[in-house]
Symmetry: C2
Subunit: 203 residues, 2 copies
């Protein structure tokens, strides 16, 4: 739980104390689940008083929302920035999958909270995150559709294909650990290949 | 939470009261997480007294273990029964994926507890479940390896390929809901196709 790690995870969050609380929340939610964690636990893990926590976040739900929103914004940005490029759809998909898989492997503890604690978000906050998710899926569907149109790819059901591609990436957060003896980058490369085959990419 | 549902989920568990407690535990764990659930909550959800719960399960961990072990045994059985058949590897993989995806879609609430609450198991119980998981992965690797040997399939890294196939199936439990407008059977069929392409199946 170092300063540099939290700055790497959330470069846009200021001040450092807020990032430190987000990191403490991630670790608490990941080990005991959202519902069994109290703001007191999080403050203690961050080496702060409960009162100091409330200066930055009004509630435990606000912390979860900050973590979830940031995670979804980061993955949306990586998908979006590649989806718009002027390159063959096949190459854009390879790059999106590599970045998406890498993101979920590298920060698997954060990613588990981002992906598995959604239903604990209050209704309005959930709606914000659900919208980010829809945009991620939408980009994926569009790039696949372009690939199909250009004859680079062929899929049965477009929606199922896009969902399966993202699903493969998300599930990396569940099973990935540093002990598997494969770097996020190496895994990402293999997954890029697997996905292109799954989408019927022509050679 | 009907008697027939619990009998369908755990046909081997007797008496009915034990199954009723397992179902109440699944629902409690799924909505609030394992750590935030008490045995009192589970007993109440099953319409029983805490004392009556202890007649069947000595602890909350024993309930989680019963649910997790049964889920892993069921999926191992479905993988194993097909893996041993005297059929082309390609066809066995298609069938395994269809059954595995179907299982995770149909009983997605149970499957979420089975797949996502592993780390809450006590050490000895975790070891039992980890062994079942290793056997499932082992079968998957073996069938893929046979397919490669017979020239029906081609993969880069065998371990990554087997893991990706199972991962796709497991993650169905996270995102599947009855509202997606696709039956478990229809989804399973599509996934069978996607996986065969991913494994480079020859036509």
């Amino acid at each position: 739980m170092t300063i540099s790690l939290s700055a790497e995870l959330w470069p846009d969050v200021q001040p450092e104390a807020a990032r430190r609380l987000m990191l403490a929340a991630v670790e608490s939610f990941a080990s005991r689940g959202y519902h069994a964690t109290t703001t007191r636990d999080i403050a203690a893990a961050a080496g702060m008083s409960p009162a100091a926590l409330y200066v930055h976040f009004p509630s435990k739900a606000a912390l979860l929302f900050a973590i979830s929103k940031s995670g979804h914004e980061q993955t949306l940005t990586l998908v979006e920035s590649v989806a718009k490029r002027d390159e063959p759809a096949k190459e854009r998909i390879r790059k999106i999958v590599e970045d998406f898989v890498s993101w979920h492997a590298r920060r698997h503890t954060v990613a588990r909270v981002v992906q598995y604690e959604l239903q604990a978000l209050p209704e309005q906050e959930y709606a914000v995150v659900a919208d980010l998710r829809r945009r991620i899926e939408q980009h994926m569907r569009e790039v696949i559709a372009e690939g199909v149109e250009q004859g680079e790819l062929s899929v049965g059901d477009l929606r199922t294909a896009a969902r399966a591609v993202l699903s493969l990436g998300v599930d990396v957060a569940r099973w990935y650990s540093d002990r598997i003896g494969k770097t996020p980058k190496a895994l990402a490369k293999e997954y890029g290949e697997l996905v292109l085959r799954m989408l019927g990419a022509t050679a």
